[in-house]
């Protein structure tokens, strides 16, 4: 699949000397949902604002669908949309005027049918004549999405789309993101909610202190860096495990539960052998469950490692 976004060696230093982006290299494939994960102040917003032309970056190149976003900014921006993190809207304008204004700004002629379709898609049609100040927070966010989509962009950036919104609305936003992606829009979202990245995106980049620490497919990332654990519940009430086995598998013992942790990429683990050894030592297995570390745990681990280095 071709790259819709290519970022090469992008650096950004703010006037207060803070280095917000440090040699960013990143490619986004057409048609994917990509998550940019990182803690607050990591550089997520600076990166997408640099791509969209809201912030000037100091060096490097950004190409959107092959167009340089500085030299060929018109072509690059015509196919890009951004939904900001905050609810930046003009309170006294109606939904309809707000969305049509955005379409005009991006150089597109009036197309009331498309705007109607968009507002219906985002469940805003019945609010088209309402002023922004009369809308709820969730509706305002959907208006921002409608504005960003008003010029039919190929590439949509969502800056923390579900920050400070309730669970129900978060699920609703996720559904919208999926729907947009199904309609052919490539989506890049920034988030610090791991659950969001895990739920929505096919690939993830982790950014910290302006550097991209890692880029990978979400599932692969979990597999590659994920820790698995097996909790083995024994029939015996008291467990007095042979020291050799305990050391060999580094079991954590809690009453009659043995916890064995391992990394999925280690291929020298023989679980059948381990279970047999437990039985051979006179213990009967009652039950066992496996648990896999979430993206959140991986994220924390990576950030900690990055800070140490």
């Amino acid at each position: 699949m071709k790259n819709i976004l290519e970022i090469n060696n992008v650096n950004k230093i703010y006037r207060n000397s803070v280095k917000a982006l440090d040699n960013i290299e990143l490619n986004i494939k057409e048609g994917e949902i990509f998550s940019l994960l990182g803690p607050n102040g990591a550089g997520k917003s600076t990166l997408i604002n640099s791509i969209c032309g809201i912030v000037n970056f100091n060096s490097g190149t950004i190409k959107i669908n092959g167009y340089d976003n500085v030299k060929e900014y018109r072509k690059a921006r015509q196919i890009t949309g951004i939904v900001p993190q905050e609810l930046y809207l003009e309170s006294f304008e109606t939904v309809w005027k707000n969305v049509n204004y955005s379409r005009g700004l991006f150089g597109k002629p009036k197309n009331y049918k498309y705007v109607e379709h968009l507002l219906k898609l985002l469940s805003l049609w019945d609010k088209k004549d309402s002023k922004i100040k009369e809308l709820s927070g969730g509706m305002k966010r959907r208006v921002l999405i409608a504005k960003a989509l008003s010029h039919q962009p190929k590439l949509l950036f969502l800056d923390e789309p579900t920050a400070s919104i309730d669970v129900e609305l978060r699920k609703e936003t996720w559904d919208i993101v999926r729907k947009l992606n199904q309609n052919g829009t490539t989506i890049v979202l920034t988030t610090h909610y791991i659950e969001e990245a895990e739920e929505l995106s096919s690939r993830v980049a982790i950014i910290n202190d302006g550097k991209i620490i890692l880029v990978d497919e979400t599932d692969k990332l979990i597999k590659k860096l994920g820790e698995k654990s097996i909790k083995i519940q024994l029939k015996n009430e008291e467990v007095n495990l042979n020291e050799n086995i305990k050391k060999q598998y580094n079991f954590e013992v809690n009453k009659n539960i043995l916890t064995f942790k391992y990394n999925i990429k280690e291929d020298n683990i023989n679980l059948t052998k381990m279970l047999n050894e437990i039985e051979n030592n006179g213990y009967q297995i009652k039950d066992f469950v496996t648990e896999q570390s979430s993206l959140e745990e991986i994220f924390i681990k990576l950030i900690k490692e990055d800070k140490k280095s």
């Binding site: 809201i54 000037n56 204004y101 150089g107 597109k108 504005k147």
Partner: protein, 253 residues
């Protein structure tokens, strides 16, 4: 050229003018009427003609200039500052608009509003005094060019302002005094020689003088000097805005 983008800004800004029609139009009309009642009728009836023109009629061009300068400046400065204040300017930055097109949209809208207000004041003044416009094309030329120039100036003020207070400083502390002292309500020939020379340092004097010439063919300075002055201010504003955009100062991080 992003024609639709410029049009979107123009319509968006003129919509704001429509939404606040009462304060946009009523305020200059009421203020102008009060000036005519006080200066034109109450005080003006006791003042003899200036350059053969009735005092009430004489002050019309100065009155229009006073309103245009302040309106153009405050409309343009508020428009761009409001976008910065509400952070909705992100959308302008993200759109495929050049700096020139952004300025064209904002300054164009502010200038259109100012020209409309100027024409309304002329009509309002007609209810109080007799007005003659000897050179209508020259009058329209000054009206449009002054509106554009001071809208550009207002755009700069709006870009650099760090708060609503900053928007008020230039109109209140600079433009209004310069307009009052620039012969809006008198001819500088009525001043002592020393103050006449001081008045010649005031650029607004040249604008009012040229504008008054288009009405009554009387002026404090030559028409050519007035035209050169307005173009000088216009070019200075364009150069300053260009410099600001090139440097990106106060526009983008």
């Amino acid at each position: 050229m992003n024609y639709f983008g410029v049009k979107a800004i123009l319509i968006h800004e003129l919509d704001r003018f429509k939404r606040t029609l009462l304060q946009s139009l009523a305020s200059p009309i009421i203020t102008t009427s009060l000036y005519f009642i006080v200066f034109g009728t109450a005080i003006g009836s006791r003042i003899k003609e200036i350059d053969g023109i009735n005092y009430g009629s004489y002050i019309v061009p100065g009155m229009i200039m006073l309103t245009i300068l302040t309106q153009a400046l405050s409309n343009a400065s508020f428009a761009i500052y409001f976008q910065k204040f509400t952070s909705t300017i992100y959308e302008i930055h993200a759109s495929p608009l050049s700096s020139f097109e952004i300025i064209l949209g904002f300054v164009g809208a502010a200038a259109i509003k100012s020209v409309i207000i100027g024409l309304i004041i002329i009509i309002t003044a007609g209810f109080f005094v007799d007005i003659e416009i000897q050179h209508p094309i020259l009058m329209i030329f000054f009206l449009i060019l002054t509106s554009i120039t001071f809208s550009l100036f207002g755009f700069i003020v709006g870009l650099y302002a760090d708060g609503f207070e900053g928007l008020q400083i230039i109109p209140i502390l600079v433009i209004t005094p310069l307009t009052f002292l620039g012969g809006s309500f008198y001819s500088i020939a009525m001043l002592p020689e020393f103050w006449q020379k001081i008045s010649l340092l005031n650029p607004v004097l040249y604008l009012i003088s040229g504008f008054r010439y288009s009405f009554y063919e009387v002026s404090d300075v030559s028409l050519l000097t007035s035209i050169i002055t307005i173009f000088t201010i216009l070019i200075s504003c364009i150069l300053f805005i260009s410099y600001t955009f090139i440097k990106g100062y106060k526009i983008k991080d």
